[in-house]
Each structure stands twice: as C-alpha cells, then as structure tokens.
Amino acid sequence: MHENETKPHETSPIEQANKLTIPGAIVIAGVLIAGALYFGSSAKSVATAGINNQPKQDVEQPTENLDQMKAISKDDHIRGNPDAPVKIVEYSDTECPFCKRFHDIMKQVMNEYGKDGKVAWVYRHFPLEQLHPVKARNEAIAFECAGELGGNDKFWEYADRLYEITPSNNGLDQAELPKIAKYVGLDVAKFNACLTSGKYDKHIEEDTQNAMATGGNGTPWSIVVGKDGKKYPLSGAQPYASIKQLIDLALQGK
C-alpha cells in the first residue's frame, strides 16, 4: 500500500454520525433560510404585530395581494399629473435612511417623467414603530398637518424639507417639525395644534395596514401601477436605472 493512501477502516457509530453532519447542516441551513423566507413574505398576521406593535388580531389577515392596494383618490397626496398613465404609490417611513435615499430617486423620476405628465407619485405612510418609535409616526402626522394647512403643494414642500434635513434612524429632533412648518410658510400655531390633535392617527394606521396588506414588509415599499392597471411590487430603495426600466414597461401596457 502506498504511503499516502487513505486507511480503510470500519466505520464506528461516532464516525457515522459525523458523516451525517454535512447533510444535516445543509438541511438545517435550508430550513432556516426557507423558514425565514416563508415567514418574511407571507405571515401577515405576524408582521402586523411585529412591525407596528399593534395587538395581534384574532381574525385572519387577508393574504398579501397587490390588488388590495387602496384605490388612488383625491384624498391621496399626488405629485404630478393625477391622470398620469403610470402611478407610483410609495409607502414610506420618514426615519428610514433608505426612504430618504428613495425620496431623491423619486424626485429624479419626476424630473424626467413628471413634466410630461407620464408619471404621478402617490405618497402614503408606513412608519415602522419598532425601528423608529414615536418619531416616524409623529412626522407622518406632521406631513398630514402640512397638507391640511397648505394644500398638496405644502405637503410636498414639507416632505422634501424633512427628508432633506433628517439624519434618519430616529435622529430628527422633533423641535424641527414646527421649524420646517415655518420654513415652508405655514402657520406654526395652527400646525402645532394639528400635530397634537390626534386627528390623523387613524389615517396613518390605515395607510400602514394597507401597506402590509399589499405585501409591504419594510420601507420604502412601492407599487408601480401601469397604464393597463397592472401592478408591479418594488421593495427598497432601488436604483434609478431599475425604476426607469420598470416605468417604461408600465407605460407600454396594453
């Protein structure tokens, strides 16, 4: 027998167990990954409790479905042509750094497609209580107050300014909220009264629930609605090149 030949030997129970370690590890890793994917994408009742810290509901949540997106209406905050053939509905969290990044990407989209009235940007709220407690929801209310006091234009001016100055990750000093109101030309006293009134709590909760019902698991979560009504889900702050191609596809819908 050659010197470097592997020694044939009888397999002991311990060695047999060792041999099973590789397939075992593969199976465990597979189960972990599959489990994470499954629960990450389909456990809606779980996500309801998890992301938003709301009490878990006894009734079964509807399966995530883009068709459950609340219809775009005059109550929405729309940038660009409301009758545009393509609409991008964004569910956003003001304290999420990726939403801040995506806000700039969407401004770029509107510069290219908004001027011709081809694309409209619809903004909805999706504050993630567990990651950005209190502040994200409060800032969503501030957006609504800006819209109430100054109309659609002030809503967007307020949003642009807040996304511009927030350091994200729950870092915005809440004293900035009335300052932004002043900056965009709103009545600060009325703004402050609105902010503490609680009148938009239900609206923000409805937006959040709608985001999750359509499959939103994180922010930014967007749905691109094509010319033919076909819906495309878009998760995260994706590059401009991807969104541009997606818009072009949505524009060509029959």
Binding site: T21, I26, F98, N217, P220, D228, Y232, A237, L246
Partner: protein, 180 residues
C-alpha cells in the same frame, strides 16, 4: 497553514471558477431577495420584452449601492466571497475523500451563511426576514436593543465563515488518517 491550504486548492482553475460562481450566486440572491416577486412578475409577463426581462433584474443588482448601508454592503460582499471560498475548499476536501476528518468546519460554514442571510435581510428598514422570523417566536423587540439593528447577524456570518475556512484549511493541511 491557511495560506498553504488556499494555495493548494486554488492552484486548480476549476476551484477558482467554483468559488467565483458560488460568490456570484450568493451576491445575486442577496440583492434580489427583497424583489423576488417583482422579478417573477416581470419574467412571467407577456408584456415584457426579452431585453426587459433581462435588463430589470440586472439593474436591480445596483441596489447594493442604494438599498444597503456601507456596513451591510461590506458584509454582504464579504459573505458572498467567503462562502465561495468555503464551498471550493469543502469540495476539494470531499474529493480527496478524507471522510474521517471532523466536520465542524462545514457546520460552522452553513451556520455562517444562515446568519449572514438574516443579516442581509436586515439591510432594509423593516428587516423583513429578521423582523418576521423573530416575531414568529415572539422576540422581534430585540431589534430595538441591537445597536446595529440586526447587522450583528451579518457580522456574525462573516466571523463564522472565517472560522469555517480556517477549520477546513487546517483539515486539508493535516489529513487525519494516512497510513504509513
């Protein structure tokens, strides 16, 4: 010892190719993960041309610069590269039929990739994998107490993969049973 083992494995081009392909697959998986539904919709769409079916998924790879922090992008790339190296070394090792050696490196390697995937899921706000997974076992609130909001899992993945590579290299350099 590690360097010698790496040299031994990667002097054969097929192992370089295997490591490269594995790394690319892991990287693509990580960047596409949040948008699997979109990719499936586009590929299955009769409206989309062939170039769109190809172009949109490819452009989504660019999300490594927009949908990841510097930290999460770094460990995602590191996990992809280390996993590729790890797989190539394990295949080299198995081909030599050194079945008697301890399998701890393999276990650590798979634990590393599993942990890394949890970390990858944490890259976006809402950490859709981790939040949902942990919520299932009722401890999603743990995210609030993690200073890096879940990136710890990605870093743990890198560490486990490094340990796995080290253990595998050690086994390649010190085959356990050679008869004299």
């Amino acid at each position: 010892m590690l360097f010698q083992a790496l040299q031994k494995v990667f002097r054969k081009p097929k192992y370089i190719l295997l490591a490269f392909i594995t790394s690319v697959v892991i990287f693509v998986f990580a960047t596409w993960l949040p948008n699997i539904r979109l990719i499936a919709t586009i590929i299955g769409s009769s409206d989309a041309s062939f170039s769109q079916k190809l172009g949109i998924p490819i452009s989504l790879l660019g999300s490594i610069t927009t949908n990841f922090t510097v930290l999460s992008a770094s460990y995602t790339v590191a996990i992809a590269i280390l996993f590729g190296i790890n797989i190539a070394m394990l295949v080299y090792f198995m081909k030599r039929k050194i079945s008697e050696v301890k399998q701890s490196g393999t276990v650590t390697g798979f634990a590393g990739i599993a942990s890394g995937i949890l970390g990858i899921g944490c890259a976006a706000c809402g950490s859709f994998l981790l939040t949902s997974g942990l919520t299932f076992v009722g401890v999603s609130g743990i995210l609030v107490f993690l200073p890096l909001a879940g990136s710890e899992f990605g870093i743990l993945g890198v560490i486990l993969l490094l340990i796995s590579i080290y253990l595998t290299a050690k086994q390649i350099e010190n085959p356990a049973v050679c008869k004299t």
